[in-house]
Symmetry: C2
Subunit: 342 residues, 2 copies
């Protein structure tokens, strides 16, 4: 028997690192390769950003409670979010799908209605794709392409000590929306007579089913001439993303519980489920907000924007990755974000 | 009950046309959108080509007889082939995979060895991707990006009446390789003691398991200053591809049986299986050769290249799409190529 190493021992990021570690780049035009939100390609001065995502039924989405139109919309949004996270503007997308024969043309039309609605709203062009039959499950693969002015793209690895850590919007809502939908699903499966009760939960359900990408934050940076020192989108959870920035920038950090932006609807839903809203904000994924670091000099510009919260700052590596609770206790930050390989 | 239209009634190309017919382009940089081998994006004078393919276990490949290293290699090649088919040079690829837990890290390493071998040979950079767990089957999604000088990209829709129809290399071998592997698989499944007999069939088996993309033809065009009037790669079969060029260029064609390039190994394998080599060459897919049209003025340059065969010419639409047999009989060309939605 040859050796067998379980992939789960590496995790998604360890796996990508392992697989690509010996790979050399051939093209001078490749500015940023594997390991960030998106790759950066230089085309004679103008830089092209490329990112891709694979969404699988039963792993990334559940068609029991995900309307196809929302799914089409979201599958575009999650890729645009990666382009914005490079401080770039998305311009084109490709969409490949694998479908089983349980899909009718009407169902596909619904899915594409969502795709086109997202393309329309974010002014990107669908320029290609591939359609196949799938033996099991709906498979969605999207690639997004964007543009960024030379020297303006923002990586994960370039934060500096003392930089402010900022997040857009609010956190934790998508996770609670998902928790609610999963609860309603299990009630429904036990008793199909009971209709789902989503009354008053529009906000958290909307955040999981129909997320938006944070274009207005990128526009704000351009208007205010702010160039973040590092940036990512929050797909796996704030803790997980901040740890990426720390690791890739070779720094530590401090996050403050009392600074975390959490919507009132999210707090109430958390209490209803007996969950700690702070844990939801730190570890809940799929918010598609942006987390970024800026120089302290940009403080005045940042606090003028109501959609941005300063949640902490970067420290020396030796000071660790720390979370300061409202009570003043200090904890190590651990990534308990969502792992697509679990 | 709402209406239900079976997707199979449209076919893959009908489906893509249906889904994208009302979609408007927003970006001036989108030069060619859906409907060709690849999209073309203008980035300040230099043009970027983008293409994507989804490969699914059980639909596009069978792991019983496909070594993972070959599969990794091929999954890159089929995308590079689409970039070359635009008369462009591929520069970057992204690779997303969905894997079940039956995959060990060693298995994935083998797959990526093939990916990197193809990237190395064709001098392209792997710049991103996504890794997920899959509930069933191995899922591969590749996007390739390339460059082309302004005004040099070649579409499917721009052939002219009287243009010569040319193909690179030889046809039908991949289909016979697949036929052989499928036969050996069914023998093996019936009696696992019997070892597969692929003796003397290296050529046809190599053509299905480890295809190459036709970079040398694109280099030849550049050296000889030939700009094809239309071009595609042959993934579904020559008949199917020529019909695409006819339809998109609004023309008819004549193909001549005695001009079809068929390797001696392919002929012999066809006779062994009781198949007509001409039918294999016309309708067998996955050869990843190029089919292109050139002006008659380029005749002398084209015949000087031993790797290119002139197989026919474009006619007025009214003259139909015709195939002339060795015996001088005329038939209508029909696409019986491989349909990923069957």
């Amino acid at each position: 028997m040859s050796n067998r190493t379980e992939i789960s021992t590496l995790g998604e990021f360890g796996l990508i690192e392992h697989l690509t570690k010996n790979f050399e780049l051939h093209n001078a035009s490749t500015v940023v390769g594997v390991g960030d939100d998106a790759a950066v390609i230089d085309h004679f001065g103008k830089q092209t950003v490329v990112t891709t995502d694979l969404l699988l039924e039963g792993v990334h989405f559940d068609l029991i409670y995900t309307p196809l139109k929302h799914l089409g919309y979201k599958s575009i949004i999650v890729n645009l979010s990666d382009v914005y996270a490079m401080n770039a503007i998305p311009t084109q997308v490709t969409m490949s799908i694998g479908i089983t024969n349980r899909f009718s043309l009407e169902a596909l039309n619904e899915f594409y209605d969502g795709v086109f609605a997202a393309c329309e709203k974010y002014q990107v062009d669908l320029v290609g794709g591939d359609t196949s039959s799938s033996q099991k499950g709906f498979i969605i693969s999207v690639t997004a392409i964007g543009e960024v002015s030379p020297e303006k793209f923002v990586k994960r690895s370039t934060a500096n000590k003392g930089d402010l850590i900022c997040v857009s919007g609010d956190l934790g809502a998508a996770f609670l929306g998902l928790t609610l939908l999963e609860r309603e699903k299990s009630i429904y499966l036990e008793n199909p007579q009971i209709q789902p009760d989503l009354e008053g939960e529009d906000y958290i359900v909307g955040r999981i089913l129909k997320p938006e990408a944070r274009r207005e934050i990128i526009d704000f940076f351009a208007q205010q001439e702010i160039l973040p020192t590092a940036m990512m989108d929050i797909s796996d959870g704030l803790s997980s993303e901040v740890l990426h920035i720390c690791r890739q920038s070779n720094l530590g950090c401090r996050l403050h519980e009392d600074k975390l932006p959490i919507a009132e609807e999210t707090r109430q839903a958390a209490f209803k489920f007996g969950l700690d809203p702070t844990v939801c904000a730190l570890n809940g994924g799929e918010d598609y907000e942006l987390v970024f670091t800026v120089k302290q000099d940009d403080y005045d510009k940042i606090i003028a924007n109501d959609n941005i919260s300063i949640v902490g700052y970067m420290t020396e590596l030796e000071e660790g990755k720390k979370f300061i609770s409202k009570g003043g206790n200090t904890f190590d930050i651990s990534a308990q974000g969502w792992n697509a390989l679990k």
